[in-house]
């Protein structure tokens, strides 16, 4: 009878020891919304992207930049300008939480343009636009897909609103497929992270893609 407790002790110890597999769990939560900018019907020109940081991260970003919001929780023009500027320049390796592919081929988007920042209801908003190298007709291409994630899953990035089309939407339609944690995918993810811990696979890059919300844009 009592040796069951011994086994229970081992179970407890083993599950503590198994914990490195959750190393990659997120610490910052970013809610995004994405609008497809269409110049002429069916031609994708740019993505308008909004990030909304969770309230704690919002406060931390402000504090780290030496910005104190008003007592009412708003930012003055100077603070907004400072923030906008700091988000206009990225490391080239950063995917900007959104990766665009056309017919399965990845498309490199421009650096962020027209960056705006504000604090609304305790959450920091960053809005910007990223252009395709050239407007691309989706009628001749397979679908456009935007995968929303951050490589290391330090940031849990989700799409909070239905995607929209700005400009000449024509016969195009955007569909959001949120990450479903209760599918087979979760098992794959956990196995992946588990193996990363145990077999010391050096390639932890891109693990966040497994958790991605996906938006598909189809025309015609």
């Amino acid at each position: 009878m009592t040796h069951r407790y011994g086994i229970a002790a081992l179970i407890g110890l083993a599950s503590l020891a198994a914990a490195p597999q959750v190393q990659a769990h997120p610490h910052v939560f970013v809610d995004t919304s994405i609008a497809f900018v269409m110049e002429e019907p069916g031609a994708l020109q740019a993505l308008d992207i909004t990030w909304r940081f969770d309230p704690m991260e919002s406060l931390y970003i402000l504090a780290a930049q030496g910005i104190t919001p008003s007592v009412e929780g708003t930012l003055d023009a100077e603070a907004r300008a400072k923030l906008s500027e700091s988000y206009a320049d990225w490391h080239p390796a950063f995917n900007g939480f959104a990766r665009l592919s056309l017919g399965g081929a990845q498309v490199d988007l421009s650096a962020p343009r027209d960056v705006e920042a504000d604090l609304v209801d305790g959450q920091l908003w960053i809005r910007f636009s990223r252009a395709l190298p050239a407007p691309t007709s989706l009628h001749s291409q397979a679908n456009a897909e935007v995968a929303v994630y951050e490589d290391t899953y330090f940031y849990a990035v989700t799409v909070g609103e239905q995607p929209t089309i700005t400009g000449a939407g024509g016969d195009c339609a955007a569909t959001l497929t949120p990450f479903d944690p209760d599918t087979q995918e979760l098992v794959i993810i956990q196995t992946t992270l588990f193996e990363l811990g145990r077999e010391e696979t050096p390639d932890i890059e891109g693990v966040g893609a497994l958790f991605a919300d996906r938006i598909t844009l189809t025309c015609g």
Binding site: A9, G12, L13, A17, H25, F29, M56
Partner: protein
């Protein structure tokens, strides 16, 4: 010879069970981790809300901040990178009393909180460092320092277990020559390792345990302190971080008490089976190896 077989068998059995459980626990642990992350996020949001409330002079904002910080500390301690697994491993692997280990859990969490306050407020006030430099210091130097110290505790457990095994080996070997018919008698109640196991409860060992946990401040505490300093609510921030440490201590304390209980049960079980002299150092060996492995994994992959 029987002793060696028994010893090898016990170690192998323990190792097999540990590996099996390790593999099977993935799904269950995934659920726990997901729950902990969701709770952590909720408490984080409440803390941020309370910070805004404090600045706006909202009634009850102080209480809200402290309550959310305590809750955050509790669920955050479920995640990796904290002293919980070290405490649990020591509880399982050594003869430390539950009360002492729970006190270690409390002291290490509070020391961790005080250290975070000294680092952030001291850094801002005296050295005029930036927030990024502070978190960089914690992640690049203090976290690895903590993991190294934790691996040292794990290695210590392994070494002591090995010493206990080798003493038993010699003891049984001697008996084998002198009184062959007493071959299995080395397994009585007075395991030669008992004294060895007690040694980890010394003041020096206790201090090492506390410091190895405390040297690495919790990122959540650092962030809250950076925010509190910038938002001119430094006192509330420090108070919240102390309460956060108490919340962490509550979780670590639960692990401490249950690990000591589990060890007692395992000891009782092995006593009735007559393998106590093998079981105690085996448990210590496995605990030590688990701590080592965990600390190495943290060193390798870092903690967010």
């Amino acid at each position: 010879m029987r002793m060696i077989l028994l010893l090898g068998g016990a170690v192998a059995a323990v190792a097999v069970v540990a590996v099996l459980v390790l593999m099977a626990s993935g799904a269950v642990w995934g659920d726990v981790a997901r729950w902990a992350v969701a709770e952590q996020r909720a408490f984080q949001n409440e803390m941020a809300l309370a910070v805004h409330g404090l600045r706006a002079g909202a009634p009850g904002a102080w209480f809200a901040l402290l309550a959310a910080a305590g809750g955050y500390g509790f669920v955050h301690a479920l995640g990796p990178g904290h002293g919980k697994f070290l405490i649990g491993g020591v509880g399982l692997g050594t003869a430390v009393p539950a009360v002492r280990l729970a006190a270690v859990a409390l002291l290490s969490s509070l020391a961790q909180a005080v250290w975070a306050i000294i680092l952030v407020y001291g850094g801002f006030f005296l050295l005029e460092v930036t927030a990024h430099q502070l978190t960089g210091l914690a992640e690049r130097y203090l976290a690895p320092a903590s993991y190294l110290a934790i691996s040292a505790v794990g290695a210590l457990l392994v070494v002591r277990a090995m010493q206990a095994f080798s003493r038993q080996f010699r003891a049984s070997g001697h008996k084998g020559h002198g009184h062959a018919h007493h071959g299995a008698c080395g397994c009585g109640g007075h395991g030669p390792s008992a004294h060895d196991l007690e040694r980890v409860t010394s003041l020096r060992d206790t201090t090492t345990l506390i410091l190895s946990i405390a040297v690495r401040p919790c990122t959540g505490a650092l962030f809250l302190l950076v925010i509190a300093w910038q938002m001119d609510i430094a006192l509330a921030g420090a108070a919240a971080v102390m309460v956060m440490g108490t919340g962490t201590a509550a979780m670590t304390g639960l692990v401490a008490v249950s690990s000591v209980f589990a060890r007692g049960a395992a000891r009782a079980a092995s006593d009735s089976l007559g393998v106590i002299a093998v079981a105690a150092p085996s448990l210590q060996l496995v605990s030590g190896l688990a701590i080592l492995w965990f600390a190495m994994a943290l060193l390798r992959y870092g903690t967010p």
